[in-house]
Subunit: 461 residues, 2 copies
Amino acid sequence: MALTPARTMPGVLELLPLDQIAFQRMLDTIRRNYERFGFLPVETPVIEYSDVLLTKTGGETERQVYFVQSTGALQSEKSAEGVPELALRFDLTVPLARYVAEHERELSFPFRRYQMQRVYRGERAQRGRFREFYQCDIDVIGKDSLSVRYDAEVPAVIYSVFRELDIGPFTIQLNNRKLMRGFFEKLGIADAEQQMLVLREVDKLDKRGEGYVRDTLTGEGFGLSAEVAQQILDFVQVRSSSLQDAYDKLDALGEGPEAMELGRAELKEVLGLIHAFGVPETHYALNLSIARGLDYYTGTVYETTLNDHPQIGSICSGGRYENLAGQYTKSHLPGVGISIGLTRLYWQLRDAGLIDTAQSTVDVLVTQMDPAQLPAYLAVANELRSAGIATEVVLEAGKLGKQFKYADRAGIRFVLVLGEDELAKGVVTVKDLRREDQFEVARSELIKTLRVELEQAAVMG
Amino acid sequence: MALTPARTMPGVLELLPLDQIAFQRMLDTIRRNYERFGFLPVETPVIEYSDVLLTKTGGETERQVYFVQSTGALQSEKSAEGVPELALRFDLTVPLARYVAEHERELSFPFRRYQMQRVYRGERAQRGRFREFYQCDIDVIGKDSLSVRYDAEVPAVIYSVFRELDIGPFTIQLNNRKLMRGFFEKLGIADAEQQMLVLREVDKLDKRGEGYVRDTLTGEGFGLSAEVAQQILDFVQVRSSSLQDAYDKLDALGEGPEAMELGRAELKEVLGLIHAFGVPETHYALNLSIARGLDYYTGTVYETTLNDHPQIGSICSGGRYENLAGQYTKSHLPGVGISIGLTRLYWQLRDAGLIDTAQSTVDVLVTQMDPAQLPAYLAVANELRSAGIATEVVLEAGKLGKQFKYADRAGIRFVLVLGEDELAKGVVTVKDLRREDQFEVARSELIKTLRVELEQAAVMG
């Protein structure tokens, strides 16, 4: 039989076990922090009805959807017009909207959910673009209304997550869409479409420089006055260095129309409360350039960046939206949430050398020096496992040196040897492959000793 | 705008948060036990190339496959013949084979992996049939060879998992395909196809009774002698009540051809070692009726049943196979593994009243008695979260009674009240909604007290 080449499609991140362990630890850390803040788990099916998925989205997203057909459907739908009945979710927000609308009467509001699952996009194959990736989302959904105070809680969760992920200093950056809208109105740019076009130009500041952007804004296409262009450039370059500085810079924007005043008031309340939520002033700042998706967010918007790795871009983004599920229900469901695209983040951190391959989840390997003593080895393994120590036993007979090599290659740090000597003396030899060291310990002290070693290893690396 | 009905397709299990928590706890328990035995995590993409997925499988499985097409592929493949390029995995075994073949040179053998992900089958919509469900698999893969001792380790993992899942007494049942094959050869039924047809009839014993099966086997289709039919019926009804009884019953089968002797020797070694692995004799038994998929397993086969709920059928099955990935690589990769179909198991256990809705993952709700005191409430929440206590703070102003009702409905047991009195006295009122009780505790003692309460709640329910 001819062999089929074993391969996966481009745009997926499949990891070797030790990398998978590192990835899993990040997932666990995120989940633990989401739960600590009182968010409840939700999982939804990967496959949704196409009409449910595609109610709201524009052409861009639609082109990236993966459709799903069983063999039967494939045959009967082959000649039919239109899209197949089923598709893979492309984010967790649309499924959340569907979930909340479907189960509305069984949920308690404000509904606080976290969801950490994979999503699918038919992206063009390209380095750093993923067709399958994890999103780790939280959202708080209110019924009819939701206090702006929840907008201040979200950064506290972000802070807690990234502090524990321990990937270097970071800053949670905030803006407010009402403030932006009001500011543009004040400048005479009232049309939302036009505001978006301006913001898209402004987004090129880092790459093209201020001169280029100013020329474009005052050029034929936009036709803004030099003064207005400068005001826009000044606005989007506002960053704060402390809470008081943020208040001062918001005040310095001058008076504006209602939307601007509303946005400023919200932003001030949120910035102050974030501090009360325990986030140090060093870890959040005003950044008036942040816009996010113009058609979705309506109030507070967030981005989070690593201070030492700005090129990675935002590692956690989100904001406040006016109504979650208008396409499915007449209930008014305002919400606020964020998303961590963990697959991409992991890939970027590894690329930047910020993540190591993990040690194995296997704490200890019990070697097999003498096949006749296997029951003794199994008894030791049982004891260790009962004490919560992850233990593998070598079950194939083989040279001890080969067994050590296996442990080393598999990333298992501690190896136990029980030869004739050890068994006679009631001791165990513990080899620490990392420190290239070994010591004997009384059998009765083994669990205690290993626990200390493993705790030290977890702290010291 | 007309509303789109919010709904999911039939054959998926979408849970409300408190049920999701119960489900997640089962996943966590399984994972913890898999890791404790030294299995390493692997995740593979949901989407695989169709030619990779469908190399080995027959028509039955092929008809149940979900194919995947991006919008672009849908248009260009529409008129093309044949199957689409991509499909959703229908189990975790084929992806494991592909993974091991693809990464062979980077893995250490024996390769011990666990994988807990969802799989997809285009099943007919029917109660208890799932189109999307979790499989929780472990496998040990050897390079060139794999000691039969690993066949004895697998039941130790099963025992550890189900003991901790705490869903009632269970029995791990074992058979050996070589023993079966040899036994049939001894009876003159050497053809594998014919053996399978006989086993299929024998499978009806429980439903149709011994008389019906005997009549079929001795009838026109099979044409077996009454004596041979009786020997088959006696064989498949062998069950052991202890390790010694298992040995005795295997010996009582009489001599047989090579395959039978080989199978018997393997089974004896495995049964004895299972005991050395720490599994009590009460929890495993010989069951010579177990066959599993005839074309896949070649040695030991397992099923696990709940003693008090035989109607649920096997809750964990698997066995030994000769070569994992022959369709992708020339390497010889024997293995042994099992699978827990958790979605179906959870659904059946809940159906049988064996699983309760969980308590919330939220340990404590901090109420908002006085909006002006919000910073004090947030400070308490920060302290609790730092101590690892999952805490939600009410951020909307509202009546206290409504806040209690929210906690009750959301399954949060402990509610904190900090009114003017409490703040002045430096105490907190803790309400236990389950016991309908409340008490005051000094602020400095709050964490310690809550920890004790939560530990008690975890133990006592």
